[in-house]
């Protein structure tokens, strides 16, 4: 028996190679809980889509085991896995109407005509396309086709739905709207979703947990807020959100904190997260919005002089590029609040940050 709180999907030591020389997925261990919205995020070629295709059954795992609801599925054909899937370009069948597309998985399962019609109608209503059943996919807009694809993947009540960059072809505004719709459908149905994307803001908006892939390895698996605020290595820090990177040598490590001698001069006190030890190279990660302009004296341990190089007005904030400790790509987001610092290009200002906001990590090139 499978207990309710057992993971729905387990990847156990999964490896994948296409050519027998390069491992695309190196050693994947991942548990996905029931009802979870898990996003696989990573740059192209990081192995995330391969993992999804192995789960769907379209690519065999070279090594390791994948289980679904406790049962190994390595040797189960794709059409017997009962997993819904939304493809990158929707993959709606152009020779069928929208209603026929939705009825297809039900007919395959031998459902009666009346039941099929009822379920199709319900699914179309769910994505607010109740009147579009008789249309062909070619007559719908991109967003509508996307909704049909989602409805089709859900209409046969699968426990698990896979989505492979489903919003990639939509424009920005529509993409954001669809993100919320998919999120709401997930919440109301309680279905488990595995979502693949290379768009980090999409991942942050929708997911319960995000697995950041790079180089065939999960770099970090965490909730969106943890991923953003507490990246565990330099790749994650750079890939998620905007990040200031300062390179230097570790001077000393004292429990939680450490001191880093930055290449351009100056010693920064930072949170020791992922450093090899004194004398080794390290990179510092600092979010632009956590940098304080002209901090009160004594409020933070790290205060440096910076020369304002460039100001970019972005409405809600002003992106300010500052030269700090010999790094001229240091960015500070100055909120456009009343009484914010009035900076001019060429000015020298004091910039500071706390120890907790500055994370000392490994080196990622």
């Amino acid at each position: 028996m499978v207990a309710e709180n057992d993971p729905l999907v387990r990847f156990i030591d999964v490896q994948k190679s296409y050519d027998g020389e390069i491992l695309v997925v190196k050693k994947l261990n991942l548990d996905i809980a029931r009802g979870e919205f898990l996003t696989m995020l990573g740059p192209s070629g990081s192995g995330k889509t391969t993992c999804l295709m192995m789960l769907a059954g379209f690519e065999p795992a070279t090594h390791g085991e994948i289980t679904l609801a406790g049962k190994p599925i390595n040797n189960v054909a794709p059409h017997k896995r009962g997993i819904g899937m939304v493809f990158q370009n929707y993959a709606l069948f152009p020779h069928m109407t929208v209603a026929e597309n939705l009825a297809f998985p039900l007919q395959v399962r031998g459902m009666s005509k009346a039941d099929t019609e009822a379920k199709v109608k319900k699914a179309l209503d769910m994505v607010q396309l109740g009147d579009f059943g008789h249309r062909r996919p070619g007559q719908l807009s991109g967003g509508q086709q996307q909704r049909v694809a989602v409805a089709r993947a859900l209409v046969f009540d699968p426990d698990l739905v896979l989505m492979d960059e489903p919003l990639g072809a939509l424009d920005k505004q529509l993409r954001e709207q669809m993100q919320y719709e998919i999120k709401h459908i997930h919440q109301s149905l309680g279905v488990t979703v595995v979502y693949v994307t290379h768009d980090q803001s999409e991942a942050l908006t929708m997911s319960n947990r995000i697995a950041v892939f790079n180089d065939g390895i999960i770099q970090q698996l965490a909730s969106p807020d943890n991923l953003y605020e507490r990246p565990e290595n330099a790749f994650v820090a750079q890939f998620i959100g905007e990040n200031n990177k300062l390179l230097g040598n570790v001077k000393s490590v004292n429990g939680q904190s450490c001191e880093i001698e930055v290449d351009g001069g100056g010693v920064v006190t930072a949170l020791s997260v992922n450093v090899a030890g004194p004398g080794e190279r390290a990179s510092l990660s600092l979010r632009p919005e956590r940098v304080i302009i002209n901090p009160e004296i004594g409020s933070c341990p790290n205060v440096f002089d910076g020369r304002v190089e460039e100001l970019i007005y972005l409405g809600d904030h002003i992106r300010t590029r500052v030269n700090v400790c010999g790094h001229d790509d240091f960015v500070v987001k100055v909120p456009n609040a009343s009484g914010h610092a009035q900076l001019q290009e060429g000015n020298t200002v004091k910039v500071g940050w706390t120890m907790e906001d500055c994370r000392a990590l490994d080196i990622y090139e």
Partner: protein, 420 residues
């Protein structure tokens, strides 16, 4: 307000010229240029293709020989009721016509024209003409019957009256193994002359067979071409096109080398021991040879339209269908195959139309049982010189193809067709 403006007087430009006139003037230059670009090809096609074909098709009903060369007889026979022998005046007209035709050296054409309709007429006409030239005065009736007693038979005159029509359907009747009897009713040809219906049926059957075999063979190849990686599929494409670039004659004669009784395949089978020396299989100079050679030659015409359609099918559709629970077979028939129908239709129509009119290959490898309608058209064009019958057979063939095209348009829709 706006409605009243548009529905009222014609819209004028700033200068007061009606907008439509101004528009026509503005686009005149480009219209003339378009006509100029099209004109050379249009004239070429008109002069070398449409006019000759129209003329040829016209010959299937055109029947000038008798009205031209024995006009008085034909005119006299207009009054004839067809029940008894014609009157003395008709005989006189005939005798004089024959005499004139003999002097004008057109008697041979009259004789052959009549001979198409009824065997033995050639000798009757030439002999009678020779003797009639010596007749100086009437009564012509007895004199003519004395020359040949067939002039005393009603059927002879019925044949002349029939063939004497300026425009005729006899060629079409002959094309479907029918003719007029002496009473003017449509009857079957004598059994030994009933060939064309059978040949038409055989032509359709061979074309259908070739089309089906081509489809069965081409479908998997086209699928591979469309789904394999670029490098492999390019090589495969070259293999498909290579025969396409080879001369039709070379390919057909190659089949003779391969398939004949002492050919490569029979030798191989004997050597392996599957068949005995005496049991060599006849694979050429019959219908089998025609079908094999035509299939090989027409295969690219099926592969290319199929390929161009399959290339556009999203490869994720098969995966999508499987993720929705359909096994691969079902996914193929429900999702993939329906999307290839435009290609199947285009390829089948193309191959079928090409094979219906095929000539060289059946002529070379068809033997007696593998001849198709085009071979008979060619025979009547070149050997028997019965152009009227050749034109009628050709017109029927063309009509059949047009009907097929119309049917296809009704069933599948011609705009669904994709040729590449």
């Amino acid at each position: 307000m706006a409605m009243a403006e548009t529905s009222g007087a014609p819209i004028l430009t700033v200068d007061g010229v009606p907008l439509k006139t101004q528009l026509r003037r503005a686009t005149q230059r480009s219209r003339w240029r378009a006509i100029g670009l099209v004109a050379p090809l249009f004239l070429f096609v008109l002069v070398t293709f449409i006019v000759p074909i129209g003329d040829m098709l016209f010959r299937s009903v055109d029947n000038p020989t008798l009205t031209q060369f024995i006009p008085n007889t034909v005119k006299a026979l207009d009054r004839w009721n067809g029940r008894q022998l014609p009157d003395e005046l008709t005989f006189e007209a005939l005798a004089k016509d024959l005499k004139l035709a003999r002097m004008g050296q057109t008697i041979g054409r009259v004789a052959s024209r009549l001979n198409f309709e009824s065997g033995g007429m050639r000798s009757l006409i030439t002999r009678s003409a020779r003797k009639a030239s010596k007749l100086r005065h009437g009564p012509y009736k007895e004199a003519m019957i004395k020359i040949d007693k067939r002039w005393g038979q009603r059927e002879t005159w019925a044949t002349i009256k029939l063939v004497g029509q300026r425009y005729t359907v006899v060629h079409y009747l002959a094309s479907v193994d029918r003719k007029f009897n002496s009473d003017g009713d449509i009857i079957m040809q004598p059994e030994v002359r009933q060939i064309y219906v059978q040949i038409f049926n055989r032509t359709l059957w061979i074309s259908l067979l070739v089309t089906v075999i081509c489809l069965v063979l081409a479908y998997p190849i086209a699928y591979l071409l469309a789904t394999l990686p670029m490098k492999t599929s390019n090589l495969l494409m070259i293999l498909v096109l290579l025969p396409f670039w080879t001369s039709l004659l070379v390919r057909t004669t190659t089949w003779i080398v391969l398939l004949q009784s002492n050919g490569v395949i029979n030798d191989l089978l004997v050597w392996i021991g599957i068949i005995s020396e005496e049991g060599r299989i006849r694979m050429i100079y019959n219908m089998t040879g025609t079908v094999i050679a035509m299939t090989q030659i027409l295969l690219p015409f099926m592969v290319l339209p199929l390929y161009s359609v399959m290339k556009t099918i999203n490869p994720y559709h098969m995966r999508a269908a499987q993720s929705l629970g359909a096994n691969p077979t079902r996914a193929f028939w429900k999702v993939y195959a329906p999307q290839t129908i435009p290609g199947v239709g285009a390829g089948s129509l193309l191959v079928f139309i090409l094979s219906v009119g095929y000539y060289i290959t059946p002529a070379l490898v068809g033997g007696a049982s593998g001849q198709m309608i085009s071979n008979f058209i060619a025979y009547h064009m070149k050997s028997s010189l019965n152009w009227g019958l050749a034109a009628a057979l050709g017109t029927i063939l063309l009509g059949g193809v047009l009907i097929l095209y119309w049917l296809y348009n009704r069933l599948v829709g011609i705009d669904n067709m994709k040729l590449g």
